[in-house]
């Protein structure tokens, strides 16, 4: 036998099949190109490291509290604002705006994508205007929206909706158009009705694209929310931060940022959770 390098593996891990414990497990270890098995809560590592860096540099005095408040000050501020009810009040109104904008944006984006993806007439009518809308930064529409709708909730929700529907439309449309024609043929040979075709082939086939669009949309919703709340609002997290700026309260500003960050993280995690559930049939690198 040739002396091929055989690497000895460490002892069998305890959670493995007990029948195998103690038996030698010697195998050549080829290098793997995939990222390996998924580990629970691994995504927390990056944010935790960032938090640790902030705490350490504040504690050692490396970070001037006038530049960035200490983490514990921010936590204390959160406690005070929670105690007098301002935080939850502003959070509720912000969440409501983002939620409504997201909801309408997702519905409009998905519907337009379906109409444009399933019929040539729909595509001719819808795709052009959406591409033009995409070229215009969503926030550039705010002056016009203020003139049309004033500065009340309608204008705020509409701004968010306009920012949300574009990525949902684009990705869902791309997903739809990417559905293999072979499946369309199959649908014809098994005699699917148009409704069943949409339910069984089109929607599941477009779902990966839809979820990708959803993740962009969720992030986009928070971005639009910040802008509309800091330009003209008398409530919401953005208003709270804007007010804090005029009084030089760094701690409240940082708290607002932290709240936005946490909201963004939670909503992205929620989308990814539903994505994994809905797309469990996929075999991908993400695992």
């Amino acid at each position: 036998m040739s002396a091929a390098p055989v690497l000895e593996r460490p002892a069998v891990e305890p959670h493995q099949d007990p029948a195998l414990t103690g038996r030698p497990d010697v195998r050549p270890t080829g290098h793997r190109l995939g990222p390996g098995r998924r580990r629970r809560l691994a995504w927390l590592l990056g944010p935790s490291a960032l938090l640790l860096l902030w705490t350490v540099s504040s504690a050692t005095g490396l970070l001037d509290p006038r530049i960035l408040s200490e983490p514990w000050t921010v936590v204390a501020t959160a406690g005070e604002l929670l105690a007098d009810g301002r935080l939850q009040e502003n959070l509720a109104i912000s969440a409501q705006r983002a939620g409504l904008g997201l909801f309408f944006g997702i519905v409009v984006g998905a519907l337009l994508a379906l109409l444009s993806g399933l019929s040539r007439v729909g595509e001719a009518l819808i795709d052009g205007p959406v591409q033009i809308k995409r070229a215009i930064p969503g926030l550039a529409l705010i002056p016009l929206l203020i003139l049309w709708f004033g500065i009340d909730e309608t204008m705020k929700v509409l701004t968010i909706t306009l920012g949300v529907f574009v990525p949902v439309y684009l990705q869902t449309h791309a997903g739809l158009r990417g559905i293999d024609l072979r499946y369309v043929e199959l649908a014809q040979t098994v005699g699917l009705s148009r409704a069943a075709f949409i339910r069984k082939v089109v929607l599941p086939g477009a779902l990966p694209g839809f979820f990708l669009g959803l993740r962009f949309a969720v992030t986009g919703a928070w971005v639009s929310l910040v802008v509309v709340e800091q330009i003209n609002a008398t409530s919401g997290i953005g208003y709270m931060m804007e007010l804090a700026r005029t009084y030089g309260q760094t701690n409240i500003i940082v708290l607002g940022l932290a709240v936005y960050g946490i909201l963004g993280l939670i909503s992205d995690g929620a989308v990814r959770f539903f994505e994994r559930k809905a797309l469990s049939w996929q075999r991908t690198l993400a695992g």
Partner: protein, 260 residues
């Protein structure tokens, strides 16, 4: 009109291939079928009849139009120009070279696809048991081997009790051992369900083993038709088997090698 007369994605432009009509007796008849992609004729006047329960293999070199003929019978050529009269039975099933299972649906969901009857699920379970896949109903398609996926595709086509089964090189992508097993399975299934079959293949031995009649297509025309008696088709060492094989290879323009 046949069940598959309309496209699901777009309206066919005028001047394209006319749809098939449903034949009353369950027979297949094709008259003077012409199909062309661009200026080049792919089918140049094909006539073909298939009796109920008859197994016809369509043999021919690449590009001779055999898949085009099968797709015309399946009603899958909305955008192809042509003329001719096709009549097919009401219930037609198609098996493709790829299993064409929807990756986002379970094995059971793939078999019941498009079934409207209330007992669809029970029938699908029975069909899966028939192809030897009982217990795999909840699996995702990607969890099955290539041969198993093609067996699901067979179950999906047979659960509809087709009067005509159209098979476009269904075993072409399988390894040789799996292919032999699939031949046996297909023969059993056909004996049980008695559909007429049109099998497109480029495998002479497969055609002899399975078919009652072999139609050789060349340059968009029926070149020769050869009948396979049950005795000849039953075994490779049956009398007349080698002669038929040699004749078919000659029809296809292949000089047989002395031994292999």
């Amino acid at each position: 009109m046949a069940a598959h007369s309309g496209g699901l994605t777009a309206v066919a432009p005028s001047g394209t291939a006319p749809s098939a009509v449903t034949s009353p007796g369950g027979t297949v008849s094709v008259r003077n079928l012409i199909r062309s992609f661009g200026p080049k004729g792919v089918l140049n006047g094909v006539d073909l009849d298939i009796a109920p329960g008859e197994f016809v293999a369509l043999l021919g070199p690449s590009g001779c139009g055999k898949s085009t003929l099968l797709r015309a019978l399946a009603g899958l050529d909305h955008d192809v120009r042509g003329s001719g009269v096709i009549s097919v039975p009401e219930r037609v099933s198609v098996v493709f070279q790829d299993s064409r299972l929807l990756p986002w649906d379970s094995v059971l969901g793939n078999v019941t696809l498009g079934l409207r009857e209330h007992d669809a699920e029970a029938r699908a379970r029975k069909a899966l048991a028939e192809v030897g896949l009982a217990g795999r109903e909840k699996s995702w398609p990607h969890e099955l081997s290539g041969g198993e996926q093609q067996r699901v595709a067979l179950a999906r086509s047979l659960v509809r009790e087709p009067q005509l089964l159209l098979a476009d090189e269904p075993f072409g992508a399988l390894d040789a051992l799996t292919r032999i097993k699939m031949h046996g399975l297909l023969q059993d299934l056909i004996a049980a369900h008695r559909p007429a079959v049109l099998l497109v293949t480029h495998d002479v031995d497969e055609a002899i083993a399975l078919a009652d009649r072999i139609v050789v297509l060349d340059s968009g025309r029926v070149a020769t038709v050869r009948t396979v008696t049950p005795e000849v088709g039953s075994a490779v060492d049956a009398a007349g088997h080698e002669a038929l094989r040699r004749d078919l290879l000659a029809d296809l323009g292949v000089e047989p090698v002395a031994s292999h």
